[in-house]
C-alpha cells in the first residue's frame, strides 16, 4: 500500500464512523419511539379498564378518565355477586379436567401418527387437520340433539368435557409436529433394552417432549377458559353451570348503566390468564411458534 492511502484512510474512517454512529442513534430513536407508541396502543386499554373499574358508580357515568376516589371494594362486590364464585369453579373444572383429558387421550395418538407407518395414515392426518379447522358451529345441531335429547346432559358442562376424553385435533397436530423432531434412535435404543412401545413412549419420549406438552396444555386450558359458544349452547339454561366467559356478559345486563362493576368483572376474568402467562411465558411463545413455523 502507498503512503497516500494509509494517510487518508484513518481520516475517512473517522468521518464515516461519525456519520454511521449518528445514523445508528437516529435509527435507535426511531425504532424505540415507534415501539413506545405501539406499547401505548396495547397497554392503554388495560389501563382505562382498570381505572374505570375503580371509580364510584356516579363517576363511571361521566367522561372522566381518572378516578376521583379509589373504590377497591368494587372488585369485592363483583367477587361476592351471587354466582360469580360458581362460575369461577365451573370454569376451573371445565378447563382443568378438559386439559387433563385432552392430554391423556391425545398423546398416544400424536405419537402413533408421528412414529408408525400404516395404511390410511395420511387420511388420518388429513382428518385431524380438517377437524382442527372446522368451525364448531358446523356440527352443533346434531351434537346438541345428541347430548340434550339422548343423554339429557344439557344444562351441564359435560357435553363440553366428555369429548375431550376422545382427543383434540389441534393438540394432536401440534404434538405430532414436535414428536417428529425427536430422533427415532432414542426409541429404538429403548426397545433394544427391552422396553415395549408404550413404555418407550412414557419413559423416553414424554420427558423429551415436555416443552411441547406444556405448550399444548396451556393452549387447551386457555381455549376452555375463553370458550363462549360451548357454554352458551349447553349451559345457558342453567346459571349454576355457567362459566366466567358466559356469565361475564350478564354483568352488563345487571349493571347496564354502570361501567365500573362491569369493568371490574372484566378485569377479574382477564387476570387469571394473564397471571398464568407470566409463569409460563416461555412455554407459550414456543407453542405459538410451533403452530406456524415448524412443519
Amino acid at each position: 500500500m502507498t503512503m497516500t492511502t494509509s494517510l487518508t484512510a484513518p481520516v475517512g474512517l473517522t468521518a464515516a464512523g461519525r456519520t454511521a454512529r449518528r445514523t445508528r442513534a437516529l435509527h435507535w430513536i426511531a425504532v424505540h419511539s415507534l415501539a413506545i407508541a405501539a406499547a401505548l396502543f396495547f397497554v392503554l386499554p388495560f389501563v382505562f379498564v382498570a381505572l374505570t373499574a375503580l371509580m364510584s358508580d356516579q363517576q363511571a357515568l361521566t367522561r372522566n378518565l381518572w378516578p376521583d376516589s379509589w373504590h377497591w371494594e368494587n372488585l369485592r362486590t363483583v367477587w361476592e355477586t351471587p354466582g360469580f364464585l360458581t362460575w369461577w369453579k365451573n370454569t376451573l373444572l371445565y378447563a382443568g379436567l378438559g386439559t387433563a383429558l385432552t392430554l391423556l387421550s391425545s398423546i398416544p395418538v400424536a405419537y402413533a401418527l408421528a412414529r408408525f407407518r400404516f395404511r390410511g395414515r395420511n387420511l388420518a392426518l388429513m382428518l385431524v387437520i380438517a377437524t382442527m379447522m372446522l368451525p364448531p358451529q358446523v356440527v352443533i345441531v346434531p351434537m346438541y340433539l345428541f347430548w340434550a335429547k339422548q343423554l339429557h346432559l344439557s344444562g351441564t358442562l359435560w357435553p363440553l368435557i366428555i369429548p375431550m376424553a376422545f382427543t383434540d385435533a389441534f393438540t394432536i397436530f401440534l404434538l405430532r409436529q414436535f414428536l417428529l423432531t425427536i430422533p427415532k434412535d432414542y426409541v429404538d435404543a429403548a426397545k433394544v433394552d427391552g422396553c415395549g412401545e408404550f413404555k418407550a413412549l412414557v419413559r423416553i419420549v414424554l420427558p423429551m417432549a415436555r416443552p411441547a406438552i406444556a405448550a399444548v396444555a396451556l393452549f387447551q386450558f386457555f381455549y376452555c377458559w375463553n370458550d363462549y359458544f360451548g357454554p352458551q349452547i349447553y349451559a345457558s339454561e342453567n346459571p349454576a353451570a355457567w362459566t366466567l366467559s358466559y356469565g361475564l356478559e350478564s354483568f352488563k345486563g345487571a349493571h347496564h348503566t354502570n361501567w365500573n362493576l362491569t369493568m371490574a368483572a372484566t378485569l377479574l376474568v382477564m387476570a387469571p390468564v394473564i397471571i398464568l402467562f407470566f409463569f409460563a411465558q416461555k412455554a407459550f411463545i414456543e407453542g405459538v411458534t410451533l403452530t406456524g413455523v415448524k412443519g
Binding site: 382505562f48 382428518l127 358446523v138 356440527v139 359458544f229 356478559e249 405459538v288 406456524g292
Partner: protein, 321 residues
C-alpha cells in the same frame, strides 16, 4: 421403522408380529377413532340429512327436499348480509392483521432496549379472553362516555358511533382484532429471526438499502409464513363468532343470559357472521333444517381454505423421514 424391522425379522413369526403391530397401532389410535366418528363424522352426516328435513326439535322430522336450501338462499334475511360481512372481514381485517402483525414483528426484532418489556406488552392482549376483550372495547369505544371518543373530541377529531353505527361496527371489530395481534407477532418474529444473516450481508455488499433488503431478502424468505397467516386468518374469519355477537349485544343493550332474545347483527346486520346464523336458526328459531344448510355452507368454505393451506404449504403435513 416398525415395518422395516418386521421385514428384517421375516420368518415363521412374521404373521403374528404384523397382527400385533396392527393391533398396537389401533390401540394407540382408539381414542381418536371414537372421537372422530362420534363428534365429527356422525354429526356431519346427520347435518346433511337434516338439511333436507323439516324439523323443529320436537315433532318428528319430515322430508322437504330442497326447501331449506332455497329458504336460506332466498328468503332468510340474514344470509347474504352475513356473507357480505365475511367478505369485508376477509379483505380488510385479515389483510390489516397480516400487515400489522408483520410490522410489529419487524419492530420487535429491531428493538434493542427493553425488548422483553415490549414483547410482553405487545403479546398480552392476545391472551385476554374474547368476551372480556370485547366488553373492554365496547366500553372504550362507547360513543357517550368512552375514553376513545373522549380523547378524539378533545383534540377536535370526529367521534364515530363505533359499535352503535353500522358503518363503524366492523372497523371497531378490526381495531379489537389488531389489539390481539400477539399470535401473528410471535410467528412473524420467529420467521424473521430465521432469515439467514449472510443474505443480508451479501445484499449490503451489493449496496442494497433498507427497503431493498426487505424487498429482496426478507420477503422471499418469509413469504410461506405470510401465506400461512393469510389462509389461517381466513379460516378464523369463518369461525368469527364471539366478538361480533358480544359487541352487538353490549352495544344494543339487549343482554343477559337466557332472558331476552337478541336479534344478531346489531346495528343493522352489520356484525352478522355465518356461525351466528347457525345459532339464530337452530337455537332461536328452532329451524334445524335451515341451521344445517348454513352449517354446510360454513363447512364447505372452511374446507376449501384448509385444502388450499395444505396444498400450498407442502411441509404442513410433515414427514417422518
Amino acid at each position: 421403522m416398525t415395518t422395516a424391522s418386521s421385514v428384517v425379522k421375516s420368518g415363521p413369526g412374521l404373521r403374528g408380529k404384523q397382527r400385533r403391530d396392527r393391533l398396537r397401532i389401533l390401540a394407540f389410535l382408539s381414542p381418536w377413532l371414537i372421537g372422530v366418528s362420534v363428534f365429527f363424522l356422525y354429526p356431519l352426516i346427520s347435518t346433511v340429512y337434516f338439511s333436507f328435513m323439516k324439523y323443529d326439535g320436537f315433532t318428528p322430522p319430515t322430508w322437504t327436499g330442497l326447501k331449506n336450501w332455497s329458504y336460506v338462499f332466498t328468503d332468510y334475511p340474514f344470509f347474504w348480509p352475513a356473507l357480505r360481512n365475511t367478505l369485508w372481514l376477509v379483505i380488510v381485517m385479515v389483510t390489516l392483521r397480516v400487515l400489522f402483525g408483520l410490522g410489529i414483528g419487524l419492530l420487535i426484532t429491531k428493538v434493542k432496549t427493553g425488548a422483553g418489556f415490549f414483547r410482553t406488552a405487545f403479546y398480552l392482549p392476545y391472551l385476554a379472553p374474547p368476551v372480556a376483550a370485547t366488553m373492554a372495547f365496547a366500553f372504550l369505544l362507547n360513543p357517550g362516555t368512552g375514553p376513545v371518543n373522549n380523547i378524539l373530541g378533545s383534540i377536535g377529531l370526529p367521534q364515530p358511533g363505533w359499535f352503535n353505527d353500522p358503518a363503524w361496527s366492523k372497523p371497531a371489530l378490526t381495531l379489537l382484532a389488531l389489539w390481539g395481534i400477539g399470535d401473528l407477532m410471535v410467528i412473524f418474529m420467529a420467521s424473521l429471526l430465521d432469515v439467514p444473516q449472510d443474505q443480508y450481508e451479501a445484499a449490503s455488499l451489493d449496496g442494497a438499502g433498507a427497503w431493498q433488503k426487505f424487498r429482496y431478502v426478507t420477503l422471499p424468505n418469509i413469504s410461506p409464513i405470510v401465506l400461512f397467516a393469510v389462509v389461517t386468518g381466513i379460516i378464523q374469519t369463518m369461525q368469527y363468532y364471539t366478538q361480533p355477537l358480544v359487541a352487538g349485544k353490549v352495544a344494543s343493550g339487549v343482554i343477559g343470559g337466557s332472558g331476552q332474545q337478541f336479534q344478531p347483527g346489531y346495528p343493522e346486520n352489520s356484525t352478522l357472521t355465518l356461525p351466528q346464523l347457525v345459532y339464530n336458526l337452530g337455537f332461536q328459531r328452532f329451524d334445524t333444517g335451515g341451521a344445517s344448510v348454513v352449517a354446510l355452507v360454513l363447512f364447505a368454505l372452511a374446507m376449501l381454505f384448509t385444502a388450499l393451506l395444505m396444498r400450498r404449504r407442502s411441509g404442513f403435513l410433515g414427514t417422518d423421514d
